[in-house]
Amino acid sequence: MKVTVTVRPRAGILDPQGEAVRRSLEGLGYAASDVRAGKVFDLDLDVGDAREAVRVAGRIAEQVLSNPLIEEFDVAAQEPVRL
């Protein structure tokens, strides 16, 4: 089951990478008023269904992929979740 976890810096947390990219976009003539940089993880989990995959991915995101003090995450199934 394929799931995507996206991890982003929390609002208010300094994002030096985003800021460096923003400045250089400015230098190249692009008008970007804000850039935030995060991480994306595509997980292929050996679980029964997409719903379970999302649940497990959430736990993984919390425990391993992000630091809740500075980051927030969201989880999306790559196949539609049947509720």
Partner: protein
Amino acid sequence: MSVAVLAFPGSCDDRDALRAVALMGAEPVRVWHADSDLGGAGAVIVPGGFSYGDYLRPGALAALSPAMAAVRELAAAGGPVLGICNGFQVLTEAGLLPGVLRPNAHLQFRFQDVALRVQRESAWLPGVVAGDTLEIPVKHHDGCYFAAPAQLEELDAAGQVLLRYVHNPNGSVENIACVTNAAGNVAGLMPHPEHAVDPLLGSVDGRILLQGLLDQAVAVEAAI
């Protein structure tokens, strides 16, 4: 002979490169990334460090700077260009050298002296022959050289691989440590020749590459 050393925000080894150039008897010229000419220098070093903090991809943001346009021009005219570590990353990102440098396979920054096996005779390596070893330190987080198989074949066939690691410190494909462009006048390597020029600090094998840079600049100048 004067040698331009580029400086980007976040360059760290630019001062070391300037010092090494002076030690080799050439005149170092510091070129700021926002400058659009190389101050008349006949050769360029793109130095190590963390230009733009290595944010995004190492070398990616520096490759877009005005000074790099001037480097491109010099390279097109046959002038020698040497990229060291971050400078190697900049030159690959700028398309002046083949391949790309990715995070070390072990994902750690690695500082150590490495032994390098010379692959062939080259203007970059005056006085050494294939099979010789050089000792030069590496220090990087993203030094894992990568090129697609087809491209690797081309590089090998054209003799563009100058140095390979004896013990691979970073996972580089085929132990590649140093490559040139097809014309041979642009070279990049992860090890730091500018840190291997002073016997008090360790090996002096870095002088060989710097001498190669100077020799080529003199030859190009004489040809004009």
